[in-house]
């Protein structure tokens, strides 16, 4: 125990340490981070406050439905924290040089595990915690809650909720690592990916937001009632459900139920943590040793000499471009942290797209239609941004200490930068067009929809302006994607960490977090600019009149032009920073 406390104290000292010789660049970056983090927190607060007011007052969905939507968002949040912890945990628990260092000292394996687990939890959940807290404040202020509500929610609900997600993630990881030497590693990873995708699919199938809205709306305008009987039994065992119940019962002053759910949350988290420690006590060191030979297992099949990307094969690219492209390719496919994460993200994207492309509910209110349309649009952009952050942000850092080979060769730094950017951008722009098209299918073609009031299926032909809006969105998405990839790659150059080899850690560093927050600010501005034209189109559809396309074209130009300017600006900054760092 004393060794554990000793190390934790040292870690705290390191966390609080100031840079030894802060230069202007470091000070500006730190100040910038502070401003961005602060602005983002304030933005998230106002956004959450506004959305709460909008959904409850303007759209009038009622407290029950509102809290069920919160429950669904919390499910996504839980899975995000869970997956984030699992992916980063592999690096933190099995690839960290600190573990090798501590293993040679008389520190028990369990203590090493606890240190690295906590390290992992704070590292991968810090930003999400800040986002959650700001959103909670926005929500709480709307209802005018006293200060002790926030204390209860923070320490009795949010922290245990996220800790629970982290515990489950690491238990699954320990289990995976125990099986890894015995089972084909790819089959194992594939199994886990399918498990997570299946879990998300099942959740949204079982809880069915569409059916829930239908059922509740049958009682319109009495939508504030408690419709607990509509909840599927399985959902009641999930922690996101407990949180939404805590919030719902708090609004309704049912503090007995609040206490019950808080106790359930705390006890479950404590139980899972004990289980995790028991598992780690027996498995951690064993799996750490096993992880040393894991790399050998994962790279073997990427050795095909006759592949298009084999260095020996000629291509029609210029020699410099060719080797840079091939180097990028091989570095990507031979790094398990890269392709595993890529497969997971593409899997989730497929599930999301298969759901939205067949979305078939009929809504009457133009406001609700605009909200649904923009939620899908913004979610697409978020997904693209997540992929850009995860794979675009680290590209410059990943060149790592091997930069000397490129820098000492007669190659311009800008060529290296451009190649790395274009590879990422080309893939993501194509992906974004596919995503935008698939998610706009319900707005482009004749389809069958369910009328929420009657529950009957009807055939609907999209209004001309709605169809035009969908095409406009499809055209805008690649422009927005280009800007986001630029932001991620360029700021990845500004915050390059050439000492870090692991892409997951680079993509969750402070610089990456700041980039993520800046991207969100950009996406929120996008949302603000696109909201009015979208609402106008759905209003025009309702009234069966033509929409004013000057407004829509102006909004589109207001998004496209600054996006391209932003892309140009950040590239200049990124390249300049890279030149300075490598001078």
């Amino acid at each position: 125990m004393s060794a554990l406390l000793h190390i934790l104290r040292s870690k705290l000292r390191m966390f609080l340490a100031m840079p030894s010789s802060p230069d202007t660049g470091t000070v500006v970056r730190s100040a910038g981070s502070f401003v961005v983090f602060g602005s983002f927190a304030v933005g998230a607060f106002f956004f959450s406050n506004f959305i709460t007011a909008y959904l409850l007052e303007t759209v009038g969905i009622g407290l029950f439905l509102f809290h069920r939507f919160i429950g669904m968002l919390l499910f996504v949040f839980f899975v995000t924290v869970n997956l984030g912890n699992m992916v980063v945990a592999f690096t933190t628990l099995y690839r960290s040089p600190e573990v090798s260092f501590l293993l040679t000292a008389p520190v028990s394996y369990l203590n090493i595990f606890i240190i690295k687990f906590l390290d992992n939890f704070f590292y991968s959940s810090g930003t999400l915690f800040m986002v959650g807290l700001s959103v909670l404040l926005g929500y709480g202020v709307y209802f005018g809650y006293p200060w002790h509500f926030y204390l209860l929610m923070m320490f009795g609900v949010m922290v245990p909720f996220m800790f629970l997600a982290a515990c489950i993630a690491v238990i699954v990881l320990l289990f995976l690592m125990t099986l890894a030497p015995r089972v084909n590693f790819r089959v194992l990873v594939g199994g886990i990916v399918l498990f997570y995708i299946g879990q998300i699919y099942l959740y949204f199938t079982v809880t069915s937001p569409v059916r829930l809205v239908q059922e509740v709306m049958k009682f319109y305008p009495y939508v504030n009632l408690y419709f607990g009987s509509l909840d599927p039994v399985i959902a009641k065992f999930l922690p996101n459900y407990w949180v939404s119940e805590i919030l719902y019962f708090y609004v309704n002053d049912n503090f007995e139920a609040v206490g019950g759910y808080v106790a359930l949350m705390l006890l479950t988290t404590a139980g899972l943590f004990v289980l995790l420690l028991a598992a780690a006590n027996g498995l951690y060191y064993r799996t750490w040793l096993a992880s040393l030979s894991l790399k050998r297992l994962t790279v073997k099949r990427f050795e095909a000499k006759d592949m298009v990307f084999a260095f020996g094969r000629r291509s029609w690219f210029a020699p410099v471009t060719e080797v840079l492209l091939k180097k990028e390719f091989w570095q990507f496919v031979r790094e398990p942290a890269q392709w595993i994460h890529f497969v997971v993200m593409m899997g989730l994207l497929t599930v999301f797209l298969s759901s939205v492309s067949t979305l078939s509910i009929r809504l009457e209110s133009p406001e609700l239609k605009a909200v649904v349309y923009l939620v899908v649009f913004i979610f697409n952009i978020f997904l693209i941004n997540a992929v850009a952050l995860r794979f675009g942000f680290p590209v410059m850092s990943l060149e790592g200490k091997a930069y000397w080979s490129v820098r000492s060769a007669p190659v311009r730094l800008s060529s290296v930068y451009r190649t790395k950017f274009l590879v990422t951008a080309a893939f993501l722009v194509l992906l974004s067009v596919a995503v935008a098209f698939l998610s706009n299918i319900p707005y482009l073609f004749v389809r069958s929809v369910t009328d929420l009031a009657t529950g009957r299926m009807e055939t609907v032909t999209p209004h001309d302006d709605v169809r035009a809006l969908a095409w406009m969105t499809i055209a805008l998405t690649p422009v927005v994607t280009f800007a986001l990839v630029s932001l991620n790659v360029a700021l990845g150059a500004v915050y390059a960490d050439f000492a870090e080899k692991n892409p997951v850690r680079i993509a969750s560093s402070q610089g990456a977090t700041m980039t993520f927050l800046l991207s969100i600010v950009y996406i929120v501005l996008l949302l603000a600019l696109y909201y009015y034209p979208t609402l106008m189109v759905f209003n025009a559809e309702l009234k069966q009149v033509p929409a004013d396309w000057r407004v829509i074209r102006f909004a589109a130009a207001s998004i496209a032009v600054p996006s391209l300017l932003l892309a140009a600006g950040v590239h200049i900054a990124g390249l300049r920073s890279l030149r300075r760092d490598l001078a």
């Binding site: 040679t104 520190v107 040793l289």
Partner: protein, 243 residues
């Protein structure tokens, strides 16, 4: 004291260390030589708990490294070739934190930290953060951190990486003095002159097997068979690996 009994480590079909046995008594300075990929680092990693042996056993100062890892680790200090330091700590803080890991009492720790700082002449820069250190400075702080808990055994992997001549001299003198004071030292290196200068006994490993194990005196006699150079003995014994 270090005892390796029939130590073997395999990675799939590849045998990295093959049936190595060795006993290093207290106060002996042992030099461990071998070409690249011969099994030196694998042996050291097994001794320090970073690999588990496939077969055989390792006892350090009477404790089995696999069965009683914490007790064994408490008795030795380890200096890797590329040391890990906490970048945001100063050198002095790092040495303190290492002492804490070995459960040292505060009073003794404070005394010992200053002792190793003086011993390795770190005073002028030890209060700067380690992120600003050169490779040689990092290496010297690692030595200090490994010595702070007064280990009975020191295990070193390539001690001279990045050290300038003066730092190298300081390190060599310190190691020699420790060995004279009863500390057993296991040192893996590529620098043959250093082995000749410091070691009481020398082991040469090639393709995982110990191909030479004898005292420095006998090594000198062995050298005479060639052209009087250790380099020639080394090249002859590891010939197969080079071809």
């Amino acid at each position: 004291m270090i005892e390796l009994h029939n130590l073997t480590k395999t990675f799939g079909p590849f045998t990295a260390v093959d049936d190595v046995s060795l006993s290093i008594p207290a106060g002996e300075f042992f030099g461990f030589l071998g070409p690249n990929g011969a099994g030196k680092t694998t042996t050291i990693k097994m001794m320090t708990g970073l690999f588990t042996p496939t077969a055989g056993s390792i006892r350090i100062n009477g404790f089995d490294v696999v069965k009683e890892p914490l007790k064994a680790k408490a008795t030795f200090g380890y200096i890797p070739d590329h040391p890990y330091l906490y970048d945001k700590l100063t050198g002095r803080e790092f040495i303190y934190s290492m002492g804490g890991l070995y459960g040292m009492r505060k009073e003794t720790l404070k005394e010992n930290v200053q002792r190793v700082i003086d011993l390795l002449e770190l005073e002028s820069w030890v209060d700067k953060k380690t992120e600003d250190y050169s490779q040689g400075m990092r290496q010297r702080v690692t030595f200090a951190a490994a010595f702070v808990h007064e280990p009975k055994t020191v295990i070193i992997d390539e001690p001279m990486v990045g050290l300038d001549p003066r730092s190298a001299r300081i390190v060599k003198d310190t190691l020699k003095r420790m060995s004279q004071n009863g500390v057993s030292i296991f040192m893996s290196t590529h620098i043959l002159e250093m082995v000749e200068e410091l070691c009481d006994r020398v082991g040469i490993i090639n393709k995982g097997r110990m191909v030479f194990l004898d005292t420095r005196e006998n090594l000198h006699r062995h050298k005479a068979k060639y052209d009087g150079k250790l380099e020639s003995v080394f090249l002859e014994l590891t010939k197969e690996a080079d071809e």
